[in-house]
C-alpha cells in the first residue's frame, strides 16, 4: 500500500480494526488518525489485514471510535462538541477506566485529557480516605510517614 504524502483528509480509505474480543470495525482514516498510533501507521503505510488491538474490547472501541468520528466532523461547532464531550464522559467508573486505558494505549490526546479531567473531578472535594475508597487504592504510608505529611500539609501548605 502506498504511503503517499496525503494530507489527513478523507481519502475514502478505511482502516480495519479488531478488538480483543474479535469485533471488527471499519473506520475512515481521517477519523482513525485521532489516535497517534494509527496516524503513524497510516503515514508508514498500512497493511491489508485488520489491526489487532488486544488491549481494547469491542464495546470500548466502539465508544472511542464514535468519539473520534464526532471530533473529526468539520461541521460540528465548538459548543456542540463541548456538550457532546460532557455527555460522553459522564459514565460510570468501570467504563471511565476502559476509556482511560484505551485513550492512553491508542494515544488519543484529547480523549485522554477528557477522561483525566473527569477522574480529577472525582478526586475533588474528597478526603484522602474517600479517594482511596473511590479508586480502590491501598495506603502504603507507615503511620509515621502519614503523620509527617499531614503535618507538613496542614502547617506549611494549608490555607
Amino acid at each position: 500500500m502506498s504511503s503517499s504524502s496525503s494530507p489527513m483528509q478523507s481519502t475514502g480509505r478505511k482502516l480495519k480494526l479488531k478488538s480483543k474480543d474479535d469485533e471488527t470495525f471499519e473506520v475512515e482514516e481521517a477519523v482513525a488518525v485521532k489516535s497517534q498510533i494509527f496516524k503513524y501507521m497510516v503515514e508508514d503505510g498500512v497493511s491489508n489485514g485488520p489491526i489487532p488491538l488486544p488491549n481494547v474490547n469491542g464495546k470500548t472501541l466502539a465508544r472511542v471510535l464514535q468519539w473520534c468520528q464526532k471530533h473529526a466532523d468539520p461541521t460540528i461547532t465548538e459548543d456542540e462538541l463541548n456538550k457532546y464531550d460532557a455527555g460522553f464522559i459522564d459514565v460510570d467508573q468501570a467504563v471511565l477506566y476502559d476509556l482511560l486505558m484505551a485513550a492512553n494505549y491508542l494515544n488519543i490526546e484529547e480523549l485522554l485529557k477528557l477522561a483525566c479531567m473527569r477522574v480529577a473531578d472525582m478526586i475533588k472535594g474528597k478526603s484522602p480516605d474517600e479517594i482511596r475508597r473511590t479508586f480502590n487504592i491501598k495506603n502504603d504510608f507507615t503511620p509515621e510517614e502519614e503523620e509527617e505529611v499531614r503535618k507538613e500539609n496542614a502547617w506549611a501548605l494549608g490555607p
Binding site: L100, N107, C116, I123, I131, R132, N153, W155, L157
Partner: protein
C-alpha cells in the same frame, strides 16, 4: 506489520509519551483472550508468536498510576492537592511533581530547603510573613520575615519560576536583584505590605525582567533611592505589561517615561498611579490607554505644572472612551469638581475606592447614584451617614464595604454611626464583607445587620473609642456581636470592639463555629473571655488580641488547639513569662516568641507581646535581639 508494531513500541521516538506499563501492545493473531488480570503486577509478557498468549489487564489503580500525572495536573485547589498527596506514596510523589503553585502561609512554618525539596516544578510562589498587627506599629521593626533565604533557595531550585507573591515580608534590593537575574521566564511580582527595598530595586526588575507582565506594589513601603525606575523598562518595542500598580510609592516619577511606557504597552489593563501624577497627566495617559479595566487616578488634582490658560482636559470624553473600566481608585488629593466627569463609567463600575478622597455626601451622590453595579466600595467617613444612605439606596449588588476614618482620634464626634450601618443593612442585602470604623454604635443596628445580611462572611466593626457602650442604651455591645455570630451562618472572620464583657465571648464560642480569624482589642473582663473562644471555636486559625485582660490561665485553656492554628498574637494583655514558658514546654513544635517592645509601658512580670505559631523547623535563627524564643 507485526514487526512494525513491535519496533514502534520499543522505539523511543515513536512511543506515546505516557508510560504504557501494563498496557503494552502485545501480539495476538487468534482469539487470544486470556485476561486474567487479577494479579497486581500487571506487567505483560510480550510474546512474538502467533499462538495464544497470556495478557493481564492492569489493576484499576495501575491504570491510574500510568496517567496520574495527567490527572493530578487538573487539580488546582490546595485542599485537593493536599488530600491527593496523602492517598499513598506514589500519589504523594506525583502530586509533588505536578504542584506548580506553592503557597506558604507562614514563612517560618517550613524551611525553603524543605519546601523546594518536596516540590520541584513550581512556577508560582506565595509567601506570607509578619502578623497583621505589625502593620499598626504594634511590633518593633526588623522582626524578621526575610525574603532572602527563599529567593536564594528558589534561584537554584526553580529556574522556571514565573510568579512571586509576597505579603508582609522584608525584601531587600539584593533580593530583587537576585530575582531579576535568576528567573528568565519571570512574569509577575506582587508585593503587598512589604518593605526593605527602594526604587533602585524596582529599576533592576524593570530592566532585567523582559517578560514582565505584572508589577504590583500594594501598600508597601518603598524608599526613594532617587532612581528613575520607570525609565528602566526597555525603551524599544512593545512590552508585555498587563498590570502596573504603584500607587503606594511615595516618590515622584518620570512622567514622560511613563507616558512612553504606557504607549508601548498594548496589553496594559491595570494601571494605578501614585499621587505624584497630576490630573492633567492622568488625562494624557487615559487617552493613550482606553483599554484599561482598572485605573488608579493618582492625585486627581491639579499640579503646579499645569500651565496657565491650558485647555481644560476633556475628562468626560476620556472616561467615556474607557469602555472596559470596571475598577476605579486613587483620588489621592481629589478636586471634587472633576467628579461628574466620571459619569460615563459609573454604570459599569464594579469596584470603587474613594478611601483617599475627602468628599462629603453631596459630592458622593453626584457619582454614586449612577453606580448600580457596584460590588466593592471603599470610602472615607467624610461622606457621613447621609452618604451611606445614598449608597444603600443605589448599590443593591454591594458585596464589600469598607468605611475608613478620616480622623481616627477618639474624641471626635464621628460622622458615621449606627444610622449609616442600619441603612446599609437595609439596602445592601447581599453584603458579604464589611469593615466599619465609627465612634458610636448601637446593638440595634448591629443586630439589624445580622438579620438583613445573611451572606456576611466578614464582619469587622471598629468602634474607635475604647470601651464604648451602646450609644443609646448605655449597655455593652455584647448582644450586637452575639447576634452576628448567631445569625450569620457563613461568618469566618470577625473583629470586635466597644465595651464587651465575657458574655460577648461566650456567644462567639457558642455560635462562631466557622470563625477562622478573630481580632480583639480592649475587650473582655477576665480569662473566661478567651477561654470561651479557645474552647468553642474549632476552626479558629488566626487570633490577634491587644490590650485585653487575658492571662496565663486563659492561655493554658488553648493547649489542645494551638497546633491547629496558624498563629496567636497577644499584646498588652496579662501574660507572664512563666505562663508562656509553660506553653512552650507543653508544645515543643510551637515556636513561642516573647517580644519586648520598649514603646509599651511594661513591668518585668508581664509579657509585652506574645507571638506563637507552629513550625516544622523549630526556632528560627534570624530572631533579632528583642525577641526571645521560649523552649
Amino acid at each position: 506489520m507485526r514487526k512494525d508494531r513491535t519496533e514502534m513500541s520499543e522505539d523511543d521516538d515513536r512511543s506515546p509519551p505516557l508510560d504504557l506499563r501494563g498496557a503494552d501492545i502485545a501480539e495476538s493473531s487468534n482469539k487470544t483472550r486470556n485476561c486474567s488480570g487479577v494479579s497486581g503486577s500487571g506487567a505483560p509478557v510480550p510474546g512474538p508468536g502467533p499462538s495464544s498468549m497470556e495478557f493481564q489487564a492492569p489493576y484499576p489503580d495501575q491504570v491510574l498510576e500510568n496517567v496520574l500525572e495527567n490527572v493530578l495536573q487538573f487539580l488546582s485547589s490546595r485542599r485537593d492537592r493536599n488530600a491527593a498527596s496523602l492517598v499513598c506514596r506514589s500519589w504523594w510523589r506525583v502530586e509533588a511533581l505536578t504542584r506548580s503553585d506553592l503557597f506558604i502561609g507562614n514563612c517560618y512554618s517550613v524551611s525553603p530547603r524543605r519546601a523546594t525539596a518536596r516540590f520541584t516544578r513550581v512556577r508560582s510562589v506565595s509567601i506570607k510573613g509578619r502578623p497583621r498587627f505589625a502593620d499598626f506599629n504594634l511590633m518593633p521593626p526588623d522582626w524578621g520575615a526575610h525574603f532572602a533565604p527563599w529567593v536564594t533557595a528558589m534561584a537554584s531550585a526553580y529556574p522556571w519560576l514565573e510568579k512571586v507573591y509576597l505579603k508582609r515580608m522584608s525584601v531587600t534590593h539584593d533580593d530583587l536583584a537576585l530575582l531579576a537575574e535568576s528567573f528568565p521566564s519571570f512574569k509577575e511580582l506582587v508585593l503587598v505590605c512589604c518593605d526593605g527595598f527602594g526604587t533602585s530595586g524596582l529599576a533592576v526588575i524593570a530592566s532585567k525582567c523582559r517578560q514582565l507582565k505584572v508589577l504590583d506594589l500594594i501598600e508597601s513601603e518603598v524608599t526613594d533611592d532617587e532612581v528613575d525606575w520607570i525609565a528602566c523598562f526597555p525603551e524599544s518595542g512593545a512590552t508585555c505589561l498587563e498590570s502596573l500598580i504603584f500607587d503606594c510609592v511615595e516618590c515622584p516619577i518620570n512622567f514622560d517615561a511613563l507616558e512612553r511606557l504606557v504607549a508601548r504597552s498594548p496589553s496594559l489593563k491595570k494601571l494605578r498611579l501614585n499621587r505624584f501624577v497630576s490630573i492633567g497627566q492622568l488625562y494624557r495617559l487615559m487617552v493613550r490607554s482606553p483599554q484599561l479595566t482598572h485605573l488608579g487616578t493618582g492625585s486627581f488634582s491639579a499640579s503646579e505644572g499645569m500651565a496657565q490658560g491650558e485647555q481644560e482636559p476633556d475628562f468626560f470624553t476620556a472616561f467615556a472612551a474607557c469602555r472596559s473600566l470596571v475598577c476605579l481608585s486613587g483620588f489621592r488629593e481629589i478636586l471634587p469638581d472633576y467628579l461628574p466627569a466620571m459619569h460615563p463609567v459609573c454604570a459599569n463600575l464594579t469596584s470603587l475606592n474613594f478611601s483617599y478622597a475627602y468628599i462629603n455626601a453631596d459630592q458622593l451622590k453626584l457619582v454614586i447614584f449612577h453606580c448600580h453595579k457596584l460590588q466593592i466600595f471603599w470610602v472615607l467617613d467624610s461622606i457621613c451617614d447621609e452618604g451611606l444612605q445614598a449608597v444603600a439606596s443605589t448599590c443593591k449588588d454591594l458585596r464589600e464595604l469598607r468605611v475608613f476614618p478620616f480622623d481616627a482620634r477618639e474624641d471626635n464626634e464621628g460622622p458615621v454611626s449606627d444610622v449609616g450601618l442600619q441603612a446599609i443593612s437595609e439596602g445592601c442585602r447581599k453584603l458579604q464583607s464589611i469593615l466599619y470604623f465609627c465612634q458610636h454604635m448601637t446593638n440595634a443596628a448591629v443586630i439589624a445587620m445580622s438579620r438583613n445580611c445573611p451572606d456576611l462572611e466578614v464582619f469587622r466593626l471598629c468602634i474607635m473609642g475604647r470601651h464604648r457602650p451602646d450609644r443609646v442604651t448605655g449597655e455593652p455591645m455584647d448582644e450586637g456581636f452575639g447576634a452576628i455570630v448567631m445569625n450569620c451562618k457563613k461568618l469566618t472572620r470577625l473583629a470586635v470592639s466597644g465595651l464587651l464583657t465575657d458574655r460577648a465571648f461566650s456567644y462567639i464560642g457558642k455560635y462562631g463555629k466557622l470563625v477562622r480569624t478573630l481580632s480583639v482589642a480592649f475587650a473582655g473582663d477576665s480569662d473566661m473571655g478567651l477561654k470561651y473562644v479557645l474552647e468553642g471555636c474549632p476552626r479558629l486559625q488566626k487570633l490577634e488580641i491587644r490590650d485585653s485582660p487575658f492571662g496565663d490561665a486563659a492561655l493554658r485553656s488553648g493547649l489542645h488547639h494551638y497546633y491547629n492554628m496558624r498563629f496567636l498574637w497577644m499584646s498588652s494583655c496579662r501574660l507572664s513569662p512563666q505562663g508562656c514558658q509553660e506553653i512552650a514546654r507543653a508544645l515543643p513544635r510551637l515556636v513561642v516568641e516573647v517580644i519586648r517592645d520598649d514603646a509599651i509601658e511594661h513591668t518585668d512580670e508581664t509579657v509585652d507581646i506574645l507571638y506563637m505559631y507552629r513550625s516544622l523547623e523549630g526556632p528560627r535563627d534570624d530572631a533579632p535581639g528583642f525577641v526571645t524564643i521560649l523552649q
